[in-house]
C-alpha cells in the first residue's frame, strides 16, 4: 500500500464529509431562540442533528474502521444539562481504540446575536475505569438553558467491527443520518431493530486504487424518545438501532473466509475456538474425583449426582460468556469460574460418565434476543443432555437450579446445541411447566378487629428457584423484618422455611401472624377483604398505551386458600360475589370463589398467566383485566353483630 493513495483517500473522505448539508458551525438564531421542543414539549434536550459516518482505512497493510460523528444538540432545561457532559468509553488494551474530540463549541444567544464559546484542553478528560477500558469526556463550557452545543468525535478502531448506531435516544432526535462505506472484500449483515421509520439509500459504488466501496446512507427524522416501561425483558430489543455483523471476507485471488452468516458457521467457529471446544476434551483433572463419586451410584441417579457435584463444588464468578478464561482445569482447582468454565466442565464430566451431553449456546436476557447469527450473538452457555430424544437443560452456575430449570438470565427464547464441529440444532429454552405459588391462610378475627393466624406458602419451578436464590438462613431475621415492613401492622412469629436445601421437594415457608391494620372497625361493623393483607393495591399497567411486549418471564399461577373464622356474635352482612374473569386468547384468568357459613368464610382464588410474554396488541385487555382484578381483590366483607 502506497502512502500517496492513503493521503488521497483521506482527502477524498474529508471532501465527502464536508459536502453534506448539515455542517457544524451553522447554528441559527432560530435554534437558539427555541424554548420548547416542537413535537415533544417535555423534552429537556434534543438532538437537532446527529450525523455519523463509518469507513475503512488501510494502515500498515491492515484494515481498520473509522467512525466520525457530528452532533448539534439543543438544551431546553436544567434537567438537560447532563447532555453537556459527553462520555465516550473505549477499549484501551494492547490493540487500542483511539478517540478524538474536535470542534467542540457552545452557542448562546446574547442580546440577539450568537455567542460562541470554544472548549479548551481543560474541558477534556480521560479516565481509566477498569483495566483496558477508558473513558474520554468533554465537559461543555458556558452551558445555559437554551444553549446549543456542537461537537465532533472520531473513533479509530483497529478491528473490522462496525459499532451499533442508535437512531433513537432518550431525548428526541430531529435529524439523524448515518453513512457506511464498506470495501467490496467484505460482506456485512445489516439489521435495523425497533419501531422507527428509517430510510435506506444505496449510493453508487465508489472505486479507487486500492478497493471499491459499497455505500449506504440511512436517515430518519423527528424520532420520538424511547420510553422505559415496566415488564420489559430488555429495552435494547425494541430501541431503533442499526447493527452490522461481518459475514464474509474475501480478498482477490483468495478463498473466502466466513465469520458467521448462518448458525452452523457461527457454531463451528465457536466450537473451533480453543477456549470452547478445546475445553471439552480433558478428563484428567476430574477423573479421580468422579470415579470415586460414581462408585455404587445406580445409573438412574448418575445425572443428578454429577449435576449436584458440579453445582456444589463450583461458585460462579458472575461473568456471562461462552468462552473459558482461565480454563476448566484451573477453574476446577480454584472452585470458581465463569459460565463457560462451569458448564463446559459439567459437559465434559457428563460425557465421561457416558451421557450424551452437549453445550447449548444462548444469549442472556441482558444481552438481548437472538436474531441474527453474528459473532457476538451468544454470550452464555448451558448444558443439554439428551435422554431418549428428550433434551434436559442444565445450568450449574446457580446452586439452586434443578434439571430442566434454567435461571432467569438464560430464559431467552432459543439456544443452539453444539453437538460436534459441524452439527448444531435449535433448542427451545422456555419452560414447559407452569411456575406456581400456593398460599394457604387460616385466620381468626377477634371483636376488636385483630386478626391472628397461620400462613403457609409453597413455591414451584421458577418461583421456587427465585425464592431459594433470594433467601438464605443467615438472612432470616432481615427477611422477617422486610415482611413486617411491607405488610404494615403485622407481627410475624415462628418463621421457618421448608425444603430450602432439598431441591427435589417444593420449597416453602410458614409463619404465624397477628395483624392489627387490616380491619376497619366502624361503629359496630367490621370491614375487610377476604384476601386480608395479600390484596394487590396498585395496577402495574398504568400507561395508556404500550409500545413493547409485556414480559412475565415465565407462565405462572398464584393460588390462595383463605379460611377465616368470624368472631363470636358476628355474622356476615355482605359478602362479595364469586366471579371468574377471563382474559381473551387464553392469556390469563382470575377465579374468585367465596362461601360463608355461620362462623367461617372460605375464599379460594386462582390467578393464572399462561404465557411468558404477551404481545403489546393485547395490552388494553391486560390493563382492563388487572383493573377489574384489583378492584375485586379490594372488595370488602361486612360483618355485623348477630
Amino acid at each position: 500500500m502506497k502512502k500517496g493513495i492513503l493521503i488521497f483517500l483521506f482527502f477524498l473522505i474529508c471532501f465527502q464529509m464536508s459536502s453534506q448539508v448539515f455542517k457544524l458551525g451553522g447554528v441559527t438564531v432560530k435554534e437558539l431562540e427555541e424554548t420548547k421542543h416542537p413535537f415533544y414539549k417535555d423534552a429537556d434536550a434534543a438532538y437537532l442533528y446527529k450525523k455519523g459516518e463509518t469507513y475503512f482505512e488501510i494502515i500498515g497493510g491492515s484494515f481498520r474502521t473509522v467512525t466520525e460523528v457530528a452532533v448539534r444538540l439543543k438544551i431546553y432545561t436544567k434537567a438537560g444539562y447532563g447532555y453537556a457532559n459527553v462520555n465516550i468509553p473505549y477499549y484501551a488494551g494492547r490493540t487500542s481504540q483511539k478517540v478524538k474530540f474536535s470542534d467542540v463549541c457552545t452557542y448562546n444567544l446574547v442580546n440577539g446575536s450568537v455567542e460562541k464559546t470554544k472548549l479548551g484542553s481543560d474541558g477534556k478528560f480521560e479516565d481509566e475505569i477498569v483495566d483496558n477500558f477508558k473513558i474520554k469526556s468533554i465537559v461543555m463550557p458556558n452551558v445555559k438553558e437554551g444553549s446549543v452545543i456542537e461537537y465532533r468525535y472520531k473513533i479509530i478502531n483497529p478491528f473490522m467491527t462496525i459499532s451499533d448506531w442508535n437512531f433513537q435516544e432518550k431525548i428526541p432526535v430531529n435529524n439523524v443520518e448515518y453513512q457506511v462505506s464498506i470495501p467490496d472484500y467484505f460482506v456485512y449483515h445489516k439489521q435495523i431493530k425497533g419501531f422507527v421509520q428509517v430510510t435506506k439509500l444505496s449510493k453508487p459504488k465508489k472505486k479507487n486504487n486500492s478497493f471499491s466501496e459499497n455505500i449506504t446512507v440511512y436517515y430518519a427524522h423527528n424520532v420520538m424518545p424511547f420510553k422505559e416501561e415496566t415488564y420489559v425483558d430488555n429495552i435494547n430489543n425494541y430501541m431503533s438501532i442499526l447493527e452490522h455483523d461481518m459475514v464474509k471476507a474475501q480478498f482477490p485471488g483468495e478463498m473466502p473466509h466466513y465469520f458467521a452468516g448462518n448458525w452452523q458457521v457461527l457454531c463451528r467457529n465457536i466450537y473451533e475456538d480453543e477456549s470452547f471446544g478445546g475445553e471439552l476434551n480433558g478428563t484428567s483433572y476430574f477423573k479421580e474425583d468422579v470415579d470415586m463419586l460414581l462408585k455404587d451410584v445406580p445409573q438412574d441417579k448418575k445425572l443428578d449426582t454429577l449435576f449436584s457435584f458440579v453445582k456444589d463444588r463450583m461458585t460462579w464468578n458472575e461473568v456471562e460468556t461462552e468462552f473459558c478464561n482461565k480454563g476448566v482445569k484451573k477453574a476446577y482447582l480454584e472452585k470458581t469460574g465463569n459460565s463457560a468454565e462451569i458448564n463446559l466442565m459439567l459437559t465434559a464430566i457428563l460425557r465421561y460418565a457416558g451421557f450424551d451431553a452437549n453445550p447449548v449456546l444462548l444469549s442472556t436476557r441482558g444481552n438481548g434476543q437472538l436474531i441474527y447469527p453474528s459473532p457476538s450473538a451468544f454470550n452464555y452457555v448451558v448444558v443439554g443432555v439428551t435422554i431418549n430424544t428428550e433434551i434436559i437443560l442444565l445450568d450449574a452456575t446457580s446452586k439452586n437450579t434443578v434439571r430442566g430449570l434454567l435461571p432467569l438470565r438464560a430464559l431467552n427464547w432459543i439456544g443452539r446445541m453444539v453437538k460436534e464441529k459441524d452439527m448444531s440444532i435449535e433448542v427451545d429454552l422456555m419452560p414447559k411447566e407452569k411456575s406456581a405459588e400456593m398460599i394457604s391462610v387460616a385466620a381468626e378475627i377477634d371483636v376488636e378487629g385483630r386478626i391472628t393466624g397461620k400462613v403457609r406458602n409453597q413455591y414451584i419451578n421458577h418461583l421456587a428457584h427465585l425464592f431459594r436464590e433470594s433467601y438464605s438462613e443467615s438472612y432470616k431475621e432481615k427477611y422477617v423484618e422486610e415482611l413486617e415492613k411491607s405488610y404494615q401492622g403485622i407481627e410475624i412469629n415462628d418463621y421457618q422455611t421448608l425444603n430450602l436445601k432439598d431441591l427435589s421437594k417444593p420449597v416453602g415457608d410458614d409463619y404465624s401472624f397477628a395483624h392489627n391494620n387490616i380491619m376497619d372497625v366502624i361503629e359496630d361493623k367490621l370491614y375487610f377483604s377476604p384476601m386480608l393483607y395479600f390484596v394487590e393495591k396498585e395496577n402495574p399497567f398504568t400507561a395508556e398505551k404500550r409500545q413493547y411486549p409485556v414480559d412475565f418471564m415465565f407462565p405462572h399461577q398464584k393460588k390462595y386458600l383463605f379460611a377465616i373464622k368470624l368472631p363470636q356474635g358476628y355474622v356476615a352482612e355482605t359478602i362479595p360475589a364469586s366471579v371468574v374473569y377471563n382474559m381473551g386468547e387464553n392469556i390469563g384468568s382470575f377465579k374468585y370463589q367465596i362461601l360463608a357459613d355461620d362462623n367461617m368464610i372460605r375464599c379460594n382464588i386462582t390467578f393464572d398467566i399462561n404465557y411468558a410474554n404477551v404481545n403489546q396488541d393485547y395490552y388494553p385487555i391486560l390493563k382492563d383485566f388487572y383493573f377489574k382484578m384489583i378492584e375485586k381483590q379490594n372488595e370488602k366483607i361486612v360483618l355485623k353483630k348477630a
Binding site: 457552545t106 396498585e538 398504568t542 355482605t574 383493573f627 378492584e631 361486612v638
Partner: protein, 633 residues
Amino acid sequence: MIFRILLPLLFLFQSAFAQESDLTVAGIPENLKENADAVVRLNKIDVDISSRKSMSTKQTRIVTVINENGLDAIDAYEYFDKSSISIKSIEAIIFDAKGMQLKKIKRKDFKDLSASGGAMFTDSRILKLDYTPTQYPFTIVFTSETESSNTAFLPKWLAIAGSNTSMQKNVIKISCVADLGFKYKEYNFEGVPIQKEQSANTVSFIAENIPALKDEDYSPSIMKVTPYVLFGLEKFHLEGVDGDAKDWESFGTWYFNKILAGTDEVLPETVAKIQSIVGGETDLEKKAALVYNYVQSKTRYVSIALGIGGWKPMAAKDVDRLGYGDCKALSNYTRALLKAVGVESYYTIIYGDRHKQDMQEDFVSMQGNHIILAVPNKDKMIWLECTNQAIPFGYQGSFTDDRLALIVKPQKSQIIRTGIYTSENSIQKSKGNYNISDKGTINGSVMIVSTGIQYESKYFLSEESKENRDKFYKSAFRNINNLKLKKTDLKNDRELKEFTEDIVFEAEGYCNKSGDRLIFSVNAFNQYSSIPQRYRNRKNPFEILRGFLDSDEIAIDLPEGYSIESKPDDVIIKDKFGEYTAKYTISESGTIVYTRSLLVTPGYYANNEYENFRQFREKIARNDNARIVLLKK
C-alpha cells in the same frame, strides 16, 4: 539455592500469623457470633510519621466472613495516586474454617480501579481485592503498607466494626517525631472498655471483644454514639504545601493564604459585567442575591478533583470561562464575584449530609466534605449553597442546616453554627376538595403550599422532567390507585421560599365496594402512613432530626343517592413526639369538611422511648387511613 532460602522465610511468615491469631472459626468467642455476618478478628493499624512529609501506614486486617452478607466487612483496598500516596505492598490470603490456607492473592491480582466510580473526574485510584468466595465461613488475612507525603489526614479510629459485624481485636498505634505537634482526642468513650497506652512519641488504643450490633432505623449518626479517636498534626503537609493546625484561627489563616490565595481573581470584563448587573443596588442582601442568581444561571455542577484540585478550588477565572465546577470552584467563584461588587463573603468548610454532622470544634484539623459560602449581613450570616441551580438565594436545606462549620477568613476564622429550621417554620398547608362518584371514582383538586424544610422536598420539581414529576406524584399519592393527573401547576416563589402546587386529578376505583356500600379513606391527599419498624429489643437511642407542621382542609362531596352510614370520630393525639388532630364536620348541604393538623417535633430519645414513638406513629397512620362508609339510599 534460592528456594532453600525462601521457603523457611515463607514458613516463618505464616507461623507468625498463627501465633498471633487463631484463624479457625472455632476460635471465635461465642458472644461475637451473635448477630454477626462477619467477625473482624484483628484490625491492626501502625502509623509511623517520621517527618512532616512522610507517613507510613501498615495494616493487618483479619476478617472471618460467616455468610455472604458479611462480605462488605473485608474492606481490602487501598487508595493511591501519582503525586503523594504509594502502595508499598498489598496482599490477601484466604483460609477455610479450619484455618487451612485456600488461596493467596498477590498485588497483581488486585483490581486497579479509578476512585471516581465514573461519577467525577479524579486521578485518585484504588487497588481492590477481587475474590469470589467458594465457601462460607472463610477467613481473609489482608496486609498492606502505604507511604504518603500528605500528613494532613491521619486515620480516624472507630473502635467498633460496622453493623452486623463483631470486633475481636482492634488496635491502632501511631508514632510521630517530637516536633510536629502530634495530638489526638477521644469521643464517646463513656462505658466502653478501651485500653490506651502512651509513651513519649507513641500512642495506642486497643478495643477487644465487641459484639455485633444490628442496624436500627432512626439511630443517631455513628459520630454521636460510637467511640472513636481523631488524630492530627499541628504541623502537617498537603500536596506540596506545609500547613498549620494549632488553632482554628491559625488554621484558617493558613487555608486562606495557601489554598485560596490567588484563586479569586477574575478578568476586568467579568468585574464590569457583574457590576453592571448589580447596578445601583445598595442593599447588601439584594446585591448578593443578584450575584447568586447570576452564578446560578451561568454555571452547573461538575465533580472534578484532580491533583491538588482535590483541595484547592479551580481558579475563578476558569469557572467564569467554562461555566462549571465543583463545590469548591463554584463557592469560590461566587466569592470572587461578590468581592467585585464590594460584598464580603467567606469560604466555608462543612460536612454536607442529611444527617447533621458537626465540624469537631475541639479538634483542629482538615475536616469536612463540602464547601458553601457565608455572607455576613449585620449580625447574621446568609448561607449560600452554590452547587445547585434551582435552590433560592439563602436557602440551605437539610444538606447543610443546623451544624458547626468553619468560615475561612484571612484572620479570625471561626466555627459557627448554620441556620436552623424549626417545626413551626416548616409548614405544608393543603386546601382542596374532592367528590366521590357512585362508581367509586374520586375527582379532586388541591392547592399545597410548602415552606421551611418542607420546601426542600418540593422546589426541585419545577426543574424536573415531566416523567420524573409524574413519578413524584404517583409516589406522593400512592394511597390513590389509578391516579390520573389532569393538572399540575407548580409555582416556585424563590423570594418567599415558598412552593405552591395546584393539582387536579381523577382516579377510578378509589372506593372499595361492598354490596350497596362505598368505603373510602377520608384523608386522600396527605397520609402519614409509614410506621417505624418494630424491634423486639431496641438497643440504640433514636433521633428525629427535623420537625414539621402540616395542616389540611378538604371539602368532600358525596354522590347522589348515598347517605353516610358511618364516619370516623374526631381525634386529638398529644405526645412529646408531636401533636395530631383530625375533625370531620358535616355541613347542611351534606358536604364533609375534613380538617387535620400534624406537628412533628425533633428530639433525641433513649432506646426505651422507642416503642412509645412507634405507637404514636401507628395511631397517626391509623387515623390518617380512617374510612367513611356510604350506603345507597
